[in-house]
């Protein structure tokens, strides 16, 4: 399962470490990471592969959402198909 993690909010220390730590624990592989500024906000985008993970998609998404609340950021997990569909002809 190819998916995209987006993290947005006010930049703070340790965000990458926390998110990647969580994904590592769940056996989700990070394939690519990029960072950018969205308006006045920090945005991090991770391409991930969860095919080796035994955690279900919705549980993974819930876990990331919870983690986001703990660190004061918004974290979403979305299937990569949606971006492929919308942005490639």
């Amino acid at each position: 399962m190819r998916a995209v993690v987006t993290v947005t909010g006010t930049d703070r220390r340790g965000v990458i470490a926390k998110v990647s730590g969580f994904l590592f624990e769940k056996n989700v592989n990070i394939e690519d990471v990029s960072q950018t500024i969205l308006g006045e906000q920090f945005a991090m985008i991770m391409m991930v592969d969860g095919s080796e993970s035994e955690v279900e998609f919705s549980a993974l998404a819930d876990g990331l959402e919870q983690l986001g609340k703990q660190i004061g950021m918004t974290i979403r997990l979305q299937h990569a198909d949606i971006f492929d569909a919308m942005h490639t002809v």
């Binding site: 995209v4 950018t36 198909d81 971006f83 569909a85 942005h87």
Partner: protein, 451 residues
């Protein structure tokens, strides 16, 4: 392959511009449910809808979670009920109520198909069926009704148009305590389509497969947002921007439609490319027209702007989906669009202008509150005018007006939720009763003879 800017574009569309999938609608054929009596038929209908749509809500919620795009409504459309109850039309309400019960138990907001197709003539059983509509809409919550009174091939059945004026009035009277809410669930069509996923006019055509998934996309806020960054663009460029945006929105719908049909074991029907507004701020078709340079929706230029918008949406959408259908275009309901509500309240848009706009967009006079004392024959005349536009222009047109009981111009009706609220708009006081009272049919236009 997409990049990070595209990821963020999608995230922004959802979080700031109200991008959503407006509806995943499962069409279910009820023809196999006909039994020897109404009670047996109602039971069979209930069982079939419950069985076929059992997983509709959980599957669409799962898809919404996976793709990170809200799927606002889950709905069901069924074979026109008048066909299912043809042998016992007096008892059609039993089937209507069974469908409403199924809708509640499935957790879906609307179920469409308490319908009759009488465009070429009204059969005896259909005449009786039409008479059941007011009582059924007053005694159900989620059931929607529609009646097709005309088509480009067959002309307009004015007898049915006359009858529907009375049905609309009676429906309003029976739901007077809720400002005539029943009329918000009743659409009168010309050239009704068999695969429309949007309510209140959805039904499952007899030419359709057993069970299909039709998806309606949305996204007026996204189009508005894109145009807000293109203030200096000429209209050719603006049309191109709308096309590109419609492409992206439709692609999301296509993905959901395909995946939903796979998981639900139903055929992928169509993606309906409509821009459907909601009363929420930032989700308005009127605002798109104003973004194009009109001071207020309803002023001169509105019809031209809407024509361009409607066409660009279709062009972008057609490219994005393998199967396009339904109503596909821009919706201009008054009570469901904050820009329309404000223009109507300020007296800047009139029914006459809305009628002109329906010549170039996908549906018709939609969710318009009119004075409660409007005669049935005037409502019929409004229906006849819209049907004529649809018939001559080979397009779907519809009328969903609410003659708000006890209310007049200056008053307001409130339905809440997606149905919104609307000021009561004036109708022309002239009398059309003799014209409507003549009955008969308006013959099909000459250009209908294509065989």
């Amino acid at each position: 392959m997409f990049g990070s800017s595209q990821v963020l574009e999608t995230v922004e569309m959802v979080e700031k511009e109200h991008l959503d999938i407006r509806t995943v609608t499962m069409g279910i054929s009820l023809l196999s449910c006909v039994r020897g009596d109404a009670a047996g038929t109602a039971e069979a209908v209930y069982d079939r809808v419950m069985r076929k749509a059992a997983r509709l809500v959980p599957v669409t919620e799962q898809l919404s979670r996976e793709y990170g795009i809200p799927i606002v409504n889950k709905r069901v459309s069924v074979t026109p009920v008048s066909l299912v109850t043809a042998a016992f039309p007096e008892e059609s309400a039993l089937v209507g109520r069974a469908l409403d019960r199924a809708a509640k138990e499935l957790g879906i907001d609307f179920l469409g198909g308490y319908s009759a197709l009488v465009h070429k003539g009204t059969a005896d059983y259909e005449e009786i069926f039409l008479g059941t509509i007011p009582e059924v809409l007053a005694s159900t919550e989620r059931l929607c009704a529609s009646v097709n009174v005309g088509s480009s091939r067959s002309g307009i059945n004015i007898d049915a148009v006359r009858r529907m004026g009375e049905v609309v009035k009676e429906t309003a009277a029976r739901t007077a305590a809720q400002d005539g809410l029943g009329c918000a669930k009743l659409v009168v069509f010309c050239n009704a389509v068999e695969d429309n996923p949007f309510m209140a006019g959805a039904f499952h055509g007899v030419g359709e497969a057993d069970t299909v998934i039709n998806v309606g996309v949305s996204g007026p806020g996204v189009v508005s947002h894109v145009l807000s960054f293109a203030q200096d663009a000429d209209l050719t460029e603006a049309a191109e921007l709308i096309k590109r945006t419609a492409f992206k929105i439709t692609r999301a719908g296509q993905l959901v439609a395909r995946e939903a049909s796979k998981r639900l074991g139903a055929r992928f029907g169509i993606v309906d490319l409509s821009l459907a507004p909601t009363p929420a701020r930032g989700d308005s078709v009127a605002r798109i027209l104003e973004e194009l340079g009109l001071e207020v929706v309803g002023c001169h230029g509105t019809t031209a702007a809407l024509a361009m918008l409607n066409d660009a949406v279709k062009k972008g959408g057609v490219m994005a989906s393998s199967r396009v259908g339904g109503l596909s275009g821009a919706f201009i309901p008054v009570s469901e669009d904050i820009g329309m509500i404000e223009a109507a309240e300020a007296g800047k848009i009139t029914i006459e202008k809305l009628e002109a706009m329906t010549c170039v967009c996908s549906v018709g006079l939609d969710m318009i509150a009119i004075p409660g004392d409007t005669p049935a024959s005037t409502i019929s005349a409004i229906i006849a005018d819209e049907a004529a536009i649809g018939m001559v222009n080979n397009k779907t047109t519809a009328v969903r007006v609410i003659p708000a009981p006890g209310k007049g111009v200056g008053d307001k009706v409130t339905f809440g939720g997606l149905l919104g609220e609307a000021p009561v708009m004036p109708v022309h006081p002239g009398d059309a009763s003799k014209f409507i009272g003549r009955g008969g049919s308006i013959p099909a236009p000459i250009h209908s003879f294509k065989n």
